[in-house]
Amino acid sequence: MASALVRRARGSAAAAPALWAAARGIASVGSDIVSAAPGVSLQKARSWDEGVATKFSTTPLKDIFHGKKVVIFGLPGAYTGVCSQAHVPSYKNNIDKLKEKGIDSVICVSINDPYVLNGWAEKLQAKDAIEFYGDFDGSFHKNLDLEIDLSAALLGHRSHRWSAFVDNGKIKALNVEKAPSEFKVSGAEVILDQI
């Protein structure tokens, strides 16, 4: 899947990042996010009791993306530094601006189980603004080629830090950090300019 990435980082000519991105073959602007990950579902963050009550149901991607303007961001892990202190707050604090621009949902996805994600979302008091979904087996990120091996940090296969604006399933903007510890292009301010 070696497709070139056009990343509209704010104000910069994306030469070096495009080379790096092309080598990695990430899902690109213009592609359909649902078709890129066929048969994949995500698990809405929930308590165990909610899981039992809904028979541990999963949400297919088309229910999340079809007919909607969605801003989605992915991060390596619940309860980790940049994710907790910068990435989620960036979207929580800009939720009104995002809604003003016609965004229907703001989604946070990571390779965590839905119960850990729920505990974290409640701790960050972000559940009102953001919908949290768990890609517990990594299949969503694997299909989009947004996976990174963080086994050295005992995290296993996780997501890169990234953000995207998806309109009725079509990726209109896609920003991926060079390293998961960085937080330069995947925040709310950048994507607000790209909507």
Partner: protein
């Protein structure tokens, strides 16, 4: 791998742990358990109800009694990453003795033969619920639950055996 049982030697393995100074460490099980009496108990998942509300509190609350009976270390292991284990440990401010250890990739759980597939619940491969007592790495008590129950793997049963 067959589940670990009485008479077996506790296998070695690396687990993740944020120590008292908040530094991420990789600790070896043998390093923690050799020449000591240790309780090792495992749970399917951080932030899930039976684990959080019953299994873990049992060991936290009985820690002093366990120590009085000669237990040197009380080790909790779960297939979660160390950040999640640290956050979960923080929800028990009264805990003084239980070490929350992360078997992030499930390797140690597999070495114990105690893995459990909970994929349909959104958890992936996790650990069975269990409690072991080991004396200088020799397992003297192995209480392993079937499924998600919580009947024999609590602190009470370990205390009875000491």
């Amino acid at each position: 791998m067959a589940p670990i049982g009485v008479g077996d030697t506790l296998p070695d393995g690396q687990l993740g742990w944020f120590d008292a100074d908040d530094k991420l460490q990789q600790v070896s099980v043998h390093g923690l358990a050799a020449i000591k009496k240790v309780v090792l108990f495992g749970v399917p998942g951080a932030f899930t109800p039976t684990c959080s509300n019953q299994h873990v509190p049992g060991f936290i609350n009985q820690a002093e009694q366990l120590k009085a009976k000669g237990v040197d270390e009380i080790l909790l292991v779960s297939v979660n990453d160390p950040f999640v284990m640290k956050a979960w440990a923080k929800t028990y401010p009264e805990n003084n003795h239980v070490k929350f250890l992360a078997d992030g990739l499930g390797t140690y759980t597999k070495a114990l033969g105690l893995e459990l597939d909970l994929s349909e619940k959104g958890l992936g491969i996790r650990s069975r619920r269990f409690a072991l007592l080991a004396d200088n790495l020799k397992v003297s008590v192995a209480n392993i639950e079937e499924g998600g129950q919580f009947t024999i793997s609590g602190a009470e049963e370990i205390l009875k055996a000491l």
